[in-house]
Subunit: 440 residues, 2 copies
């Protein structure tokens, strides 16, 4: 079976999010703007401007700059309902000085302005909240205020937050073994892992994401996840659930020893929270966050053939609604004066994980950081923490500066290591700028 | 290529909507309730409760009772955005006497109550507006106030309304030939048809919907429309647009002579309005109706492999939002005191079509009715007119009674001829009941 449909997407989503650099001779953000390139324009679009979900390259640059906003028409999805009430609008008080904030990109000689960084990062949407108000809002490429964008692995952090809500509720025991909750996983690597180990990705899993190896596990996973018809004679797993049951332990490591970033942990966690709550991640996200936060738009997840939301990376949402999540984190679960989720759920995340366990990961970027409940913690002087997804997606929360930054992007290559040098120092510079402005 | 994915859906949608009777020994509405039958419940659902978009029977009774609410997770779709503002809520003033209204079903001896008719028709949702207020609202089966339901061929009427809006705007000339607007159709049957003939389905098209004939045109259409990968060596059309270009004339008839209900007219009209407006039916519906009406939920269309909305029957929407359309028709294009669409667009529809042209159709039900701009006109004493879709979908507007009825249903068989006997007289009885109540 050739790569089709979900394959290119999953490949990108599951990619290690470290290492690699920006390709040379790549089209710039302006040059690759999907509106300029004319993807899918016209009735019908000309044949060289068509993008189909069954194309093997729909998630390759530059087509991905269109596709990140259009997953719903490329594959089956499931709605995260905002309900039917009026949205709770965000308050806006724009700060026009932000574009000129200067910062020093990591490893570079020249300073850069915030505005320059937007294009350097192929930014599709960026929103900054400070002291609870929108101080900056930007759309480009395929995104606009009524549009939605793939959140990629930021999805994982949302699933982690839902798990922490269930833990704080007493609905989910983080010390329980996975097999005690999901007998279907009794013969898999997950069986004797604790829910906490799954949440923190310290499980020991035999799971290769080596895309150059046609027998790598990621291809089996991709085939299992695809909602397309299976080839004749296919006997393998036909859903995320069935795939997870086949995962074996990595004999060289024990659960709990080291952080190991593997997307399938989040799919296992999606299953765990479904079992514990009786609701799918899509229903749970709607009921626990999207509706109480008064989201402006319903969101959606991509799904497998049995409608299971892709917990590892399938969320697609509006920019302002992602900002609501960041602000809720900053507010320790309060929204408009109401405690809409338990403060304990947020506290568990914001304390961060164990940096030593993190340091034992094979990845060597983000030194000094940690990972807890699918969120990345910088342990920097501002105690900033983040949700991070390939191609530049993020929710970045800086509690010290009372600031949230949400970014959607379609950077040509998946790895954030290529994007961080012009992002992380920019975020910190804006935080300092806003703190100084607030003091004046 | 076997029937898969869109095939069962298109088969049902394209079915002649007349003739046929209810099958015997069919499960009742209660017995076939999708929640009771347990479709897709659990994590994962048991194998005998699974419904996949690639199953050949997902749109067969009783599975269709679940599927009508879940197209988004069964296949690719495209959003009809409600925008991001607050919905404009409907005002509710329930009338509790409606359930007891009695009527005489066509061709039956026994009277029936309104409430009994709901189950007899496998009703999933029903809303009645009278004098601009919601007087009745009912959900069952797979539907609830935050859910969406397939509108089937009610979609056609919405597309017809959009076309009339463009005509009233001066953006679309109803007398223009199709080929003058769409050169791609110059060698097809549509070429010398006028836009008006397409809108009224009086075109002469060689297009068979005989499902027992494996070479029937509907199967070619189905294959073209499917967003699934095409089988190796497939050389046929790969989109609605490409299929439409292949349609030949019916040598036994001329354009304009007779009404002939063929779904592909609406797909041609969808293309025509896209070309005229520069917007796809999904964008146009969002901008012209969904946003100005303050819809509660975004809707969506199913799509082909290049993201073309299925104008012939692919709309899926919330019950209250469909009621907004009916009420807008009743109000001659006004909404909350504002003329949101031209009154002329509504007037063109409500005048009805030519009953003689209608009578020349091969179908012999609905005697005395007519068809104009994809709406059905009863020409009864109340001058009621309707949008009608297989399995019981309707928007029924009774201007004399100042009443709109919107129904979503999942009747076991597609044809409305089996549903009309317990629907049309019930609608008329409720209209009379509400008129009498208003006089008191």
């Amino acid at each position: 079976m050739k790569l089709r449909y979900l394959a290119p997407l999953l490949a990108a989503l599951s990619a290690p999010i470290f290492a690699a650099t920006q390709p040379q001779q790549t089209l710039t953000a302006q040059q690759s703007d999907p509106n300029q390139l004319g993807w899918m324009q016209g009735f019908p679009p000309s044949s060289d401007k068509l993008i189909r979900g069954t194309d093997s390259d729909y998630f390759s640059f530059p087509k991905l700059r269109w596709s990140v906003c259009h997953f719903q028409q490329l594959m089956p999805t499931i709605e995260v309902s905002r309900g039917v009430k009026a949205p709770l609008p965000l308050t806006t008080k724009l700060n026009h000085g932000i574009d000129d904030v200067r910062f020093q990109p990591l490893g570079q000689q020249q300073q850069m302005t915030w505005r320059q960084a937007l294009d350097a990062n192929y930014t599709d949407g960026l929103l900054i909240m400070h002291q609870g108000k929108v101080v900056y809002e930007y759309y480009s490429g395929c995104l606009h205020e009524q549009g939605k964008h793939a959140a990629m692995s930021v999805t994982k952090s949302i699933i982690g937050l839902l798990a922490e809500i269930l833990v704080a509720d007493g609905t989910l025991d983080p010390d329980a073994s996975v097999a005690s909750l999901l007998p279907q996983l009794a013969n898999s690597a997950f069986a004797d892992a604790s829910v906490r180990q799954v949440m923190d990705m310290t499980t020991s899993l035999q799971y290769s994401e080596d895309y150059s190896d046609p027998k790598a596990d990621v291809w089996l996973y991709t085939r299992a996840a695809s909602p397309l018809p299976k080839p004749k004679g296919y006997q393998g797993p036909r859903s995320y659930f069935e795939y997870l049951a086949t995962v074996k332990k990595d004999s060289s490591a024990k659960h709990g020893e080291a952080f190991a970033y593997k997307t399938i942990n989040t799919d296992a966690l999606g299953w765990i929270i479904s079992k514990a709550s009786g609701q799918s991640p899509a229903e749970l996200l709607s009921q626990r966050l999207w509706q109480p936060l008064g989201a402006e738009q319903s969101a959606y997840f991509t799904v497998d053939s049995i409608g299971t939301p892709y917990a590892g990376g399938g969320l697609v949402a509006g920019l302002r609604d992602m900002a609501r999540i960041g602000q809720l984190m900053l507010n320790q679960g309060q929204w408009r004066g109401k405690q809409v989720i338990p403060a304990a759920a947020v506290d568990s995340i914001t304390q961060g994980g164990d940096p030593e366990v993190f340091a034992r990961s094979p990845y060597k970027d983000l030194q000094g950081w940690s990972y807890r409940s699918m969120w990345w913690h910088s342990h920097n002087e501002h105690q900033a923490y983040a949700a991070r997804g390939v191609h530049g997606q993020t929710i970045y929360v800086d509690p010290t500066a009372d600031m949230v930054i949400v970014r959607f992007a379609s950077f040509p290559t998946p790895k954030n290591a290529a994007i961080d040098p012009t992002s992380l120092p920019a975020y910190h510079a804006v935080a300092q700028y806003l703190m100084a402005a607030a003091e004046r």
